[in-house]
Point group: C2
Chain length 199, copies 2
C-alpha cells in the first residue's frame, strides 16, 4: 500500500472533502430536512451522482458531517481535561464542552439537527462514539474514584448526558450576545447538580 496518492485518488479525496464542507455549511444553516442533495451538489459544483458516489445516502452524508464535528470537539474537550483528579478533570471538560457549544456549527449540527435528522436511536448510536461515550468514561472515572455512587450507572450517565444536551441546545438556540450569560447560568446549575450527586 503506497503512501503516495495517484492523481485520481487525490482528486477524489478533494471532491469528497468539498462535498463534506458544503454539506456542513448547508446542514448547519438550513437544517437537514430543508437541505436537498441537489443543494449540496450544486454548491460543490458537482452532480448528485458524485454525492451518491462518495456517500451511501443522505443520512450517511449527515453522519459523516457529524463525525467530523464530534471528532474535533472530543479532541478539544479531552485536551482541556488535564487535571489528574477525576472531579477536577470533569469540571474542566464541562467548561470546554460549554465553550464548544457556543460554536454555531457544532451546536446546531450536533444538538439541534442531529436528533431530528437521525432520530433519537440512531443519533445516540452515533454519539456513543463521541459525546455520550465521553460522558460515560467520565462518569465511570468518578465512580471509580469514589465521587459518585456506583448504582444506577446507566441512568446516571444518561442523566448527565441529557443535561449537557440541554445546555448544548440552549446555547445553540441562543443569539451570540446571549451566549455568555446562558453559558454561565448552565455552568452554575450543572456544577450545583454535580455537587449534589457527589458523595
Amino acid at each position: 500500500m503506497p503512501p503516495v496518492k495517484s492523481r485520481r485518488e487525490a482528486y477524489s479525496e478533494a471532491t469528497r472533502a468539498a462535498i463534506l464542507g458544503e454539506a456542513t455549511t448547508l446542514f448547519a444553516e438550513r437544517g437537514y430536512a430543508a437541505t436537498s442533495l441537489e443543494h449540496v451538489a450544486s454548491a460543490t459544483r458537482v452532480t448528485r451522482g458524485a454525492v451518491y458516489h462518495h456517500f451511501a445516502d443522505k443520512q450517511a452524508l449527515f453522519e459523516a458531517v457529524l463525525d467530523a464535528q464530534e471528532k474535533q470537539a472530543i479532541d478539544e474537550i479531552a485536551a482541556a481535561a488535564t487535571a489528574t483528579d477525576p472531579w477536577d478533570a470533569a469540571l474542566l471538560a464541562l467548561d470546554a464542552f460549554l465553550d464548544k457549544c457556543c460554536d454555531p456549527a457544532y451546536g446546531r449540527l450536533v444538538w439541534q439537527e442531529g436528533p431530528t435528522a437521525l432520530g433519537w436511536k440512531r443519533w445516540r448510536e452515533c454519539e456513543e462514539k463521541y459525546a455520550y461515550g465521553l460522558v460515560e468514561r467520565f462518569v465511570h472515572a468518578l465512580i471509580d474514584a469514589g465521587y459518585l455512587e456506583g448504582r444506577a450507572v446507566e441512568t446516571t450517565i444518561r442523566f448527565s448526558f441529557w443535561i449537557l444536551g440541554g445546555a448544548g441546545l440552549a446555547l445553540a438556540d441562543a443569539t451570540d450576545e446571549d451566549k455568555p450569560r446562558i453559558r454561565d447560568e448552565w455552568s452554575y446549575i450543572i456544577r450545583r447538580t454535580l455537587n449534589a450527586l457527589r458523595q
Copy 2:
C-alpha cells in the same frame, strides 16, 4: 348556536376522531416519518382527501395527536399534585409524570416522535401549552415560596424540563419489564437534584 348536532356534523366529527385515533396508533407504532397519510387514511377506511379535509397538513395532524395526549397527561398530573405546599406538590407531580411516561403512546409520541417530527423549535412551541408550561408554573411557584433562588429562571425551567425529557425518553425507550426500575432510578436522581437546588 344549537347544542344539537346535525347528522352531517355528527358524521364529520366521528370521521375526524377516527382519523385522529388511527394516526395516534400509527405515529406511536411506526413513527412520524415512516407513517404516510395514505397509511392513516386506509387504516381509517377513508381517502387522503378526507384527512386533508380535517387537517391542514401532516404536521397539523401530528400536532392534533400530540395535543390530545398532552391534554390528558396534564390533567392527570395536575390532579395528582394536590399538596398545598409547592414543594410537596412538585414531588407529587413528578411521580405522576413518571407514571405517565410509562404509557407507551404518551412516551413515544411526546418525547420520542415530537421533537424529531416537528423540530425542536416547533415542538417547544407546542409544549409551552403543556408539559413545558407546567414545569414553568411549578418552578415559579417554588421560587415564590422561597424554595428556589429567583435568578436564571429561564435556565432553571429549561434545565428542569430537560431532565424530565430525559426521564421521559429513557422510559419510552425501555422495555415494559425495565420500566419500573428505570422509573425509580430517575425518580431518585431527580429528587436528589431538586434537593441540591433547594435553598
